[in-house]
């Protein structure tokens, strides 16, 4: 099922490949895509989704009309122009890690749906899946619309997930997988309701910065089980 008001703005990353895999599995797919940057190398096989097929190939297989931009920067003028000219209201964003949408693209007249790997507002910022595992023993994903303040826009949906059995493939496996799983839920819900069920987010919250590799190793090597909820 094509979702006529929804598009995809993506670089070829593990997250994008997880999203495309979820579109194929659920038959819920955006009607157009803007694929930017260079094609990524094949990627590592993971148990959660097809991380090997290049994004361009999956988009073609899914029949999603795709515009290409060579810039790897999501804020590049050529990408802003493509976004402005796209026929959809909402773009699902899957930019490379660390990319932040600046005012030019946020002011393009479109809305940007992002899936964050953490509960909000408790875990705003970067590498929050690791912080969540360290501090709560579990993971969450939250779908939201992006605004100028990072991870502070209206929340569309959220979902909790168990800790992964294998913590060595979080970055390119479990993190993209939980985001894609929630995205599929959100698109399914949208196809039924015809709108997104959004609610404002409380202003207070904690911002985390990219986790230091030593702390990441503590998270990955931790033998501590999550407390039963």
């Amino acid at each position: 099922m094509m979702l006529p008001r929804i598009g995809l703005l993506a670089a070829d990353t593990s997250r994008t490949r997880a999203y495309l895999d979820a579109f194929a599995r659920t038959d819920m797919r955006p009607s157009v895509a803007i694929l930017f940057g260079q094609p990524a190398p094949p990627g590592t096989a993971v148990p959660y989704f097809d991380n090997l097929t290049p994004a361009a190939e999956s988009l073609e297989r899914l029949g999603i009309a795709t515009a290409r931009a060579s810039s790897p920067d999501v804020n590049a003028p050529e990408i802003v122009e493509l976004v402005r000219g796209s026929a959809v209201d909402v773009l699902v964003v899957s930019a490379p890690g660390g990319a932040i949408l600046r005012s030019a693209i946020l002011g393009s007249g479109k809305r940007f749906l992002h899936v964050h790997a953490g509960a909000l507002p408790a875990f705003r910022g970067s590498t929050t899946i690791y912080y969540s595992l360290l501090l709560t023993g579990a993971c969450s994903a939250t779908a939201l619309f992006l605004e100028r303040r990072i991870d502070a826009g209206p929340i569309i949906a959220e979902r909790n997930f168990q800790a992964p059995r294998d913590r060595t493939t979080i970055d390119h496996g479990y993190d993209p997988y939980i985001r894609a799983t929630l995205l599929a839920d959100v698109l399914r819900d949208h196809s039924v309701r015809g709108s997104f069920a959004e609610r404002p987010q409380p202003a207070d919250g904690e911002t985390f910065y990219v986790m230091h590799p030593v702390l990441r190793h503590v998270v990955i090597l931790s033998a501590k089980e999550a407390a039963p909820s």
Binding site: G98, Y131, T168, T207, Y209, H212, P213, K224
Partner: protein, 218 residues
């Protein structure tokens, strides 16, 4: 055996963003410990610290105060530091002066809430940019160079003093500050050396607690 990868180049010359680090297994934690131990041993040799647990930032601050003609216990508030500015969002400041002011407040046991807000703000500033500039205008607009080791060392020691095992965000910034300080070839003042030694010791205690809590084999 691997070398700890995040101090092999001068992080004041080249930013380290810590994006997508490889998983190196338990050996990474051992290499981290060796690197920090080596750095502490070199510092001890240079500043004649006692063999363990003896870094004395209080003494170093007092020495500086004495040299400036001011003596007292706890060290008096530096007139240059003055009162802590009330609003971290709408203040311009000289980073070194502010950090010394925060140290004086900490040692005198005053103004805990405001001090913590300022330390949080400096921690966020460093995390966002991996730099501490000489001064900041309103809205944290950076002014001057970011090459002096003393502000990084003083912030690291403040975070270490706040018991970073209680707030993983403090420990995260502390690890990055110590990486930067132990990677650089820039000179250290006596105060910066004492502050770095205290930071490494505090970081070590917090890491040991974290590893124990999360049942990570040492």
């Amino acid at each position: 055996m691997i070398d700890y990868p995040w101090t092999s180049r001068d992080l004041l010359d080249e930013l380290e963003q810590y994006q997508y680090p490889p998983f190196l297994g338990p050996e990474l934690l051992r290499s981290y410990r060796r690197q920090r131990q080596g750095a502490l041993e070199r510092l001890r040799a240079e500043i004649e610290l006692p063999p363990a647990g003896g870094s004395d930032l209080v003494l170093a601050l007092a020495v500086r105060e004495t040299a400036a003609g001011r003596v007292g216990t706890p060290p008096p508030r530096s007139p240059a530091a003055g009162e802590l500015p009330a609003d971290p969002d709408r203040t311009s400041f000289v980073t070194q002066t502010l950090l010394l002011g925060l140290w004086h407040e900490a040692l005198a046991g005053r103004d805990g809430h405001l001090r913590d807000r300022w330390i949080d703000r400096l921690r966020g500033l460093f995390e966002r940019t991996k730099r501490l500039h000489q001064a900041y205008a309103e809205r944290l607009r950076p002014l001057g160079s970011a090459d002096s080791t003393e502000p990084y060392a003083l912030l690291a020691a403040l975070l270490a003093r706040r018991c970073p095992s209680r707030d993983v965000r403090d420990l995260n910034a502390l690890l990055k500050l110590v990486d930067l300080l132990t990677s650089t070839r820039r000179p250290f003042t006596l105060l910066a050396a004492h502050a770095l030694a205290g930071a490494i010791e505090g970081e070590g205690v917090a890491m040991s607690e974290l590893l124990r809590e999360h049942e990570v084999p040492a």
